[in-house]
Subunit: 257 residues, 2 copies
């Protein structure tokens, strides 16, 4: 099959997608790596272009053929690739993907979930990517983000989430202080609190799990709105459990029987 | 207090500590960051020198005074610092630390533990650092590594473990196939198995938890030596849970009541 050569304008656009403001304006982001691209193409999210590193055409011929006719497939030379790639040892494949339209936080689709994950001011992209991968595993299919969170199309989030991003409904810029009172009618609100709380336990009803950042935890005014606080008991001398691990344990406990 | 200027020979040695073979030969490694250095100095591990970035002397005056007289404290200029620092936004403090003598895997000190963590061929340093931090939290105070694991004094391991490294007994280069039969008398051997296994549960007796790498899991010949296999049930569409999260859940479950 014939691969296209990108124009300078296209290359420049794709390169500037490293900036959050450009991703927001263009509603586009880059998704790099074979597993990530595969999950994107199999999901309801839309790929706009497929980019393949020169020399990797044969290796990715199958995926290129599968999308051919639907989206444009480009060949990039080594120099062009280096300007876009975020991976130290790149596999040589990435997609230009559309940021999908997401429902608002009070949409009936959101309110029908059994499990919600609410993330307050998580700004470490590797932590966020890890959280999304775990949320996908445990069936927390809708994730809400406060203002001040890292953009979920940040390249490191996309990479660390390992394709799980495309299985989730993600709602950004949510004011938790404003919505939590209204959520109480539908969900049991559980907040993570490193200082004080009960041991995580199975969730029998519909539950919204609220996590804060690794550095600051949840602010008091949000903890005050929860129905229950969870703390993971430790026996060692570590000062804290890292956020992705604490969140994984809480999601596991919640979905345990 | 007076800070020393490092010699060229010292700087060169410290710089080459980025190489595993040099760390092994010199039995030294670098520990960077305020939290990491603080935990090192409060632990039974030995610091050999304290290095402070020029301009940060006042900020770290207290810690420098505390160790003064016991170990040498050096001031490094920006250029010297850049050659040693692994952090993109460095705090400006690091220690040169000794790799301690560790017991052998059949030492009575090892056999007296209630919980052991056994790690087979974990070669991602960020994963290993995260595992050690979690092990510290849940009281798995002794960790054994197979041959083919990343060196636990790798800069990224030290960084990600966030000081937990210095709270643990770490035994490297262990042949699990050789020692597991002998461990059976003292420990219940639990192996992580993504394919097949029971849901994690509280561990009543003394337990050795065995984890494989994220890419390959545990090899069959080691799984065959376990008493029990654990698998974390998922409900979503993620292909796998990441290793640090799976390990955190298993350590949590094991130490739950």
């Amino acid at each position: 099959m014939k691969l296209l050569e990108p124009s300078k304008v296209q290359l420049k656009l794709w390169m500037t997608l490293q900036q959050a403001k450009v991703r927001k304006r263009e509603k586009l982001f880059l998704a790099e790596g074979a597993k990530v691209v595969k999950d994107l193409l199999q999901s309801a999210w839309k790929a706009r272009a497929l980019l393949i590193l020169q020399g990797k055409e044969d290796h990715f011929a199958e995926v290129a053929s599968a999308v051919s006719g639907e989206i444009d497939v480009y060949r990039l030379n080594e120099k062009e690739w280096q300007r876009l790639s975020q991976d130290s040892s790149s596999e040589g494949i990435m997609a230009v993907a559309s940021v999908p339209e997401m429902p608002s936080s009070d949409d009936s689709q959101v309110m029908r979930n059994d499990r919600l994950l609410l993330l307050h001011e998580i700004n470490n992209p590797n932590n966020l990517g890890a959280l999304l991968r775990t949320a996908d595993w445990f069936g927390f299919k809708t994730v809400l983000f406060s203002a001040g969170s890292v953009d979920f199309t940040h390249p490191k989030v996309v990479r660390t989430a390992m394709g799980s991003l495309f299985h989730l409904t993600l709602i950004a810029g949510v004011d938790f202080a404003a919505i939590l009172p209204g959520f109480k009618a539908s969900f049991r609100l559980v907040g993570s609190d490193v200082g004080n709380g009960v041991t995580p336990h199975p969730c029998t009803g519909r539950t919204a799990l609220l996590m804060g950042s690794e550095s600051h935890g949840l602010p008091q005014h949000l903890l005050d709105l929860t129905d229950e606080r969870w703390r993971i008991p430790g026996v060692g001398s570590a000062q804290s459990l890292s956020l992705p691990q604490a969140a994984a344990i809480m999601m596991y406990a919640c979905t345990s029987k």
